[in-house]
Symmetry: C2
Subunit: 259 residues, 2 copies
DNA sequence: TTGTAAAGTTAGGCGCACCTAAATATTCTG
DNA sequence: CAGAATATTTAGGTGCGCCTAACTTTACAA
């Protein structure tokens, strides 16, 4: 006697190892790795449905190119993307859906951590990068609801809706703005904590006003004037790496000097 | 040119696959599976440092016994436990530390979900079972701090301190109490949502007063009188499975009938 | 156009975390 | 105490997710 129930199994797995999970990933639960790949590909290719290159994916995920090559084959088998060997990959509709779902999860978590748990904005990304795979849909929805369905994350990136739609406002890099352009910061790339701390120290945050004062020659540094929230105006010289991490909206005409 | 930085690697892994991670797990990051194993073994063997049996571990984790056998060898290599083949396993000091760390994480998360995100008490366990492996120490500490360093989780289980100590109050099962025993519910086993919903419907929760009125013969059902919070008194007949899931403190003398 | 550099893929391998089938050790029972 | 029942381990195998080394394809430049 003593039933020694031992239900599930057969398909029941633990954390990562063995098991089936093949075929067309329709509604299937994806692995954390697969989730990160589709998210990265979406971010590289853009909402416009362009193609992403193997080495770019490898670079972004810090994975060796042959590993990416192998994974792309699997993602193609799952029908999350189409793979033109030696050319690149393009997400299918299912792939874009999966990517937008992950972007929503990631950004809701970041926003929750920042607003409800006082996380500094340079540390939310790393935490969200792991939690996004572990949280249930219910948890994401409860977080979003608690926050009042936020529209943007702490770095200014838009949060896809529960239904998987996201405003597709074309981003421009501060690095590409001409001298004289007066722009508003929409978002800051969030994967480098040190860079985030640095730009924050310059008052460069979503919503800040930034005017390009001067561009160094030969892809040189930019001199920018930053209008902080308290009406303060400060001028800084920032390198291209920083200027490429800062996204701005369309310039609203060259600002006259000394308005 | 174009540095194509591709730092880390060599030891840098992704979500689960390949890599080193051998030897004595001193301060090492453990895999999610390893974390679940030590937690399960601690719960089975008790704080007293007893031994846990292979099939019991297999049963609790819903994993086939041969898989457990193999994992126990690895846990022994990590010096998280000692393995007496065909006899059982005993956690080492490092193993107990790891287990208590996981118990703290699990229970802090459960408490946070219940108190800050209005999670119903029957759903926090499944969510915590996954998040406990993904959350950083910082996140756990911020949650605990936000909650005011809670001492017990939503099911009444004690939360180990940040330093890894936990009050070791011996638990008694309601199922073992003699007729007439008047006890207070300390905790309820939380792994079966349906059972949790059921006992909550009977007002059996941590803090509730329960008196054993009658015991059915041959390991039969118990008739209990439950004093709810609002001074209500209700009598129920509960099966042994339920009575075994409810933990109570030491009985405070037989209650006289009709006080 | 042809050679070379860069990008991408194939081949082979490893550890993790599972599985089933079969063997073995231990415990219970008559 | 022999045989049966139960517990546990060994043997062999799978998919995931990564790696390095070697090869192939594509892009660029003299
Ligand atoms: Mn992020
Ligand atoms: Mn991630
Ligand atoms: Mn629990
Ligand atoms: Mn777990």
């Amino acid at each position: 006697m003593s039933p020694s129930r031992r239900t599930r199994r057969a398909t029941g797995r633990g954390h990562s190892g063995g098991g089936a999970r093949h075929g067309t990933a329709a509604g299937q639960a994806l692995t954390g790795s697969v989730e990160d790949y589709v998210k990265a590909i979406y971010e590289l290719a853009g909402a416009s449905g362009g193609a992403a290159a193997t080495t770019d994916i490898a670079d972004r995920l810090a994975i060796a190119p042959p590993s990416v090559s192998g994974m792309l084959r699997r993602l193609a088998a799952l029908e999350l993307l189409t793979h033109e060997p030696y050319k690149g990959v393009t997400l299918t509709a299912a792939g874009r859906r999966a990517a937008l779902r992950m972007l929503r999860r990631h950004r809701v978590i970041e926003t929750y951590l920042a607003r409800q748990l006082d996380y500094p904005w340079d540390r939310v990304h790393a935490e969200a990068e792991r939690l996004e795979h572990a949280a249930s849909d219910e948890l994401i929805d409860r977080m979003a609801s608690t926050l009042g369905e936020p529209a943007v994350d702490p770095h200014g990136a838009p949060i896809p809706s529960r239904e998987g739609t996201m405003a597709d406002i074309p981003q421009r890099m501060l690095a590409d703005q001409p001298v004289g352009a007066r722009t508003r910061v929409t978002s800051v790339s969030d994967d480098d904590p040190a860079l985030l701390r640095y730009v924050a120290s310059l008052d460069i945050r979503p919503g800040a006003s930034v005017t390009v004062v001067e561009r160094g020659p030969f892809e040189g540094p930019l001199t920018v004037r930053v209008s902080g929230k308290g009406g303060t105006e400060r001028q800084h010289v920032v390198g291209l790496a920083v200027a490429r991490a800062v996204n701005v909206d369309a310039p609203r005409g060259p600002a006259r000097r000394g308005g």
